[in-house]
Subunit: 459 residues, 2 copies
């Protein structure tokens, strides 16, 4: 059905007043992505404050056949929140409250607009923390919707593992709750897992119950350089296979080390590095660090720098978290195409090596970083905006990486999600499973109003 925009906007304005914004400036903010995708502006931006308002927006949009697309903080790298068919951007920035913390159950209940840093600040006095750490200070609603992970997933899992329950507004305005506060359940289809990673195509998440972790008694972090990338990657594989419970194990290549030096004032040798962290009791951390040190040394690690003081660790991980911006700064004015493949750990070395060889032959730079303990790594391909030849070259490199991931038994996206960029690979990864996804989408959103044009192919 054709969207009937004017009455929808009038009704939503009646619901939200000034919290429906139709200015070109605000539409432009919500029509732009962090990476190379073409702008696509919403017709208006809604700023709900309550679940009831989100449900009202959904009811109005359903009645008038208007698309609705959730917006967290815009840190997606795959153009998830671009309203490619127009409609309403539902911006959750005013739904940014930590609704409750239950230290006794190790749970927090939050609105979707809370960022991970805001949540961890709110938890500081409790001795607990929320572990999922994608680098960007993303919102928890956005992180759930893309099934985000990051540096700590090797130890604490991804959003799949750390969302206990959800409240969701469906395409027809119904509000449902999925999951309970209990640690496990066998009561029916796992709707929580269905909405986590659904990228707003099945519903809009309006509340999350999140699992928390106890702050470890001891934390120790280190960075070390390797003579060649193969030594670094092989050290990772051996470390994971040995069962050392790494809290973080991150790979950065020599180009990224250079970017860190320029952007964060580091003084790393321009070599491949591993950045690692250990969590546990004092003795456990010492044991883990020694075991890792032995393996790393065997594979050629040198120049270990240990960071046991909190401020040193902060500096280390802040540098890592800014990797995307540091890399972007290597080519001023550039935009990026960021790849995100993930392979079984035993295939990591060949996946990285083939990718490095591709990049070495390319005309555009593509520094590599990776959450390699999970078999996941990214290549940030830096391209000149508007340069069609460079974009085509970047897409060809990404396509080869994605094909490689599937050939090696992996996935085209470890943590960034499908968005716009991975749609062309869904059939190859899922086969007829992609049709099953479309069946589920049709069942829950028969008019295809929730983030249309993403995730599945309908119409």
């Amino acid at each position: 059905m054709t969207p009937d925009l004017d009455p929808a906007l009038a009704a939503i304005a009646g619901l939200l007043g000034k919290r429906l914004n139709r200015t070109t400036a605000d539409r432009a903010v919500h029509g732009t992505s962090e990476t190379h995708f073409k702008d696509a502006l919403p017709d208006a931006v809604a700023y709900p404050e309550t679940t009831a308002e989100v449900a009202g927006i959904a009811l109005i949009c359903a009645r008038h056949h208007v698309p609705m697309v959730g917006w967290g903080i815009g840190s997606s790298l795959e153009g998830h929140a671009l309203p490619v068919r127009g409609g309403i951007s539902v911006d959750f920035s005013l739904m940014n409250k930590v609704l409750g913390v239950q230290p006794e159950n190790m749970l927090a209940v939050v609105q979707p607009g809370v960022t991970r840093e805001a949540l961890n600040n709110a938890l500081r006095a409790t001795g607990l923390f929320f572990p999922v750490d994608p680098g960007a200070n993303a919102t928890l609603g956005g992180m759930a919707s893309t099934r985000a992970s990051g540096t700590t997933a090797v130890r604490y899992g991804t959003m799949r593992d750390n969302v206990r329950a959800l409240e969701v507004v469906l395409a027809d305005g119904r509000v449902i709750r999925t999951g309970t506060a209990a640690p496990k359940s066998s009561a029916g289809y796992d709707l929580t897992a269905l909405f986590v990673g659904a990228e707003g195509t099945l519903g809009l998440i309006t509340e999350l119950t999140l699992k928390l972790q106890g702050q470890p008694d001891a934390i120790s972090a280190a960075v070390c350089a390797f003579g060649d990338f193969a030594g670094a990657v092989d050290a990772v594989i051996a470390t994971i296979q040995s069962g050392i419970p790494m809290a973080r194990i991150e790979f950065v290549d020599e180009a990224t080390a250079r970017a860190f030096n320029l952007y964060s004032g580091a003084s790393l040798p321009e070599k491949p590095h591993l950045m690692v962290e250990f969590h546990g009791s004092d003795s456990a951390v010492a044991e883990q660090a020694a075991a890792f040190g032995d393996i790393a040394t065997e594979f050629g690690a040198e120049g270990f720098q240990w960071a046991s003081r909190p401020e040193d660790r902060s500096a280390l991980w802040s540098m890592r978290h800014k990797a995307f911006y540091a890399t972007m700064a290597l080519r001023p004015g550039a935009t990026a195409l960021v790849t995100d493949i993930c392979v079984p750990i035993a295939r990591l070395a060949e996946a990285v090596e083939e990718t490095r060889n591709d990049i070495a032959r390319a005309s555009i730079p593509g520094p590599i970083v990776g959450h390699v303990g999970d078999g996941n790594f990214h290549c940030t391909l830096l391209i000149e905006p508007g340069n069609a030849a460079e974009l085509a070259e970047a897409k060809a490199l990404a396509a080869r990486m994605n094909d490689r991931a599937l050939r090696l038994g992996g996935t085209v996206t470890g943590e960034h999600g499908v968005g716009m960029g991975k749609m062309p690979y869904m059939r190859a990864e899922h086969g007829q499973g992609w049709d099953v996804m479309a069946s589920i989408k049709r069942a829950l959103d028969p008019e295809n109003l929730m983030n249309p044009g993403k995730m599945v192919q309908i119409n």
Copy 2:
């Protein structure tokens, strides 16, 4: 549509030959459950050997509108596999091969009829094991379909956390693969999580890729008694909240201790007990055991018996695994209604206490055991077969437990699944989420042929 049974049976017999069994004896085996539910016989039992045969059965059943119900080993406690609308029992006992073990990726690929003990026997030489341990020697297909867990979930998670990928035959005979061998993915709806716990109502699982764990360097187990149940339960809550990474922490009440003495030749005092296990390095296990010992002693634990030798641990957990049969033997000839609530850890004490008070006032016995580290416990209500008054009393007790679980923020089934027994509580637990489950069911199985009458209400 009315099932057109005869041509379906003829066609399946044409596909499987003697591996389609229509004898009354075999139908009776597949029409009976472990607990109090009424028998419901299939029209025939099919024994496929390959995924292609399962797909063939599904195609034939779809064409002739005949229900199909998966069968593992029949250890479900909620009547999951009872073909309440007749049709074909698809018995996976011939699909019992471990298809591959990838120690380097810590993965195993198995057919659905492999039991957890058979898998762990096959893994013995690798230094790896599959951790999910529901007690019964269930099949892995059945465990996935009920989202099983058991004694080790407190450390290693449930089937939700330990199934990496699946092959599934859909209601229309299509064969799909969900997930990949990579440790994580953000590529679309989490179909693996959707089929895990779907109890065969959305598809028949024909292959599972499972996550394995490294055998810990050291294992230590212990059992200790408490003067009263409250001390035992409070010790559990304090232990979990302290963050000690328990590998197992099991509660058994005084009636169960008595059952162990009678059935397994134990000589436990007839008091509440905790049975615990620690996994890790030598020093980590020693540290964890000491920390737990301090907490338990503070709450009145006495008579610690440590089991560090493998044969002593085996005896300890074998006794625990036989708890269901030991309890059944307390009332010879009885059948059982087994409850399965799970609550947030901080509400465990009141959940157990209210339940104990209910049981104390009842006319039927109801020993309590629990995977209490997860907030999950069971009450095995022993009733005389055919005694309507006792069945009604058991159902009333179970109803009060289920209401209690929901009031305390929990779930009516922590690990046994919905089956026949939890259908009356699905609306109360899920509200309109239950309608969403029905929408998904209709989308994937529009004729309602896969385990009809379970999970959702259709027709």
